[in-house]
């Protein structure tokens, strides 16, 4: 919808410069949020034909975490040069040696829609391996990832062990109840045993 000319709302601040510290961030999760920010989709003034996302300066790219034990050695990036038979590949560890900013940049590049704004949006992403960046004169606002629910792993406990634990708990509860009775209290609290779900 068109914004009426003359009414300049406060939400359109124009482009902000965001400083993002990538230390200990997981690659893909950071990349997806970066793609959203670069496209401008977190602003209510989003338009798909305008390039209004914020400029993201990412530092400490070489300290990004890659989860999964296999990725550093076995994740392969493929590309084809156009000549027959020239399907090239490079593994993640080699890619990090060559240029530690490349995995993040490729990840963000591939998470954004492939249209005419694709490259312009990528130009707003500047990734640096270290803490140093040449944008000290710009008004950089630090930006953190939105909080993330890290699921607790479901540990499979065999039924026999569960039963044994429950019996132990019952015995301890009975012992505690017996100890309480021997002290001469009036009423004992009856604890119902809950089935673990």
């Amino acid at each position: 919808q068109k914004l009426r000319a003359g009414l300049i709302p406060q939400v359109t601040e124009g482009r902000r410069w965001l400083l993002i510290d990538a230390k200990k961030e997981v690659l893909g999760r950071l990349a997806s949020k970066l793609a959203i920010v670069l496209m401008g989709k977190d602003k209510p003034t989003y338009s798909p034909n305008k390039d209004e996302g914020d400029i993201c300066v990412v530092i400490n790219a070489k300290h990004i975490t890659y989860t999964g034990g296999w990725k550093l050695k076995n994740k392969v990036y493929y590309w084809h040069t156009g000549y027959i038979g020239h399907l090239k590949q490079i593994k993640l560890n080699h890619m990090i040696e060559r240029d530690p900013t490349l995995p993040l940049r490729k990840a963000v590049f591939r998470m954004m829609p492939r249209n005419r704004l694709h490259r312009r949006r990528m130009l707003k992403l500047r990734v640096f391996a270290d803490e140093r960046h040449p944008f000290d004169d710009k008004p950089l606002v630090p930006w953190t990832m939105p909080p993330r629910n890290i699921r607790k792993p479901r540990i499979y406990v065999p039924r026999s062990i569960k039963l044994a634990r429950r019996k132990l708990a019952e015995r301890e509860a009975a012992a505690a109840a017996a100890a309480a009775e021997s002290e001469g209290d009036g009423g004992t609290a009856q604890e119902g045993v809950d089935r673990p779900q």
Binding site: V11, D42, P44
Partner: protein, 113 residues
Amino acid sequence: VLELAKGFRGKKVHRIARDRVAKALEHSYRDRRRKKRDFHKLWITRIGAAARLHGLGYSEFMHGLNRQKVELNRQLLANMAILDPDSFKSLADSVSSLPPLKVSLLMPFFLFF
């Protein structure tokens, strides 16, 4: 037909223009329907972004509005989010101050049989 072909790139000869104009009319027919979908999508994206600025997601926000029987449409909500962020904020606050729904766990088991 040649009048309808104004603005076309190079196809101003009657023979060629005939086909191109037919295509253009097809497109416009189809896109008049698509336009409604596209704008709906855009409004939803904008409302979602604005709701996230207030700590809610689009789904939570709309659910809360539905619970309160607020029947504002998305076009209005999206414009409100841009031009009148204070009233949008009050809507978002009313949603986040709603008590959570209690979901009874017993009912679904009976419904499955």
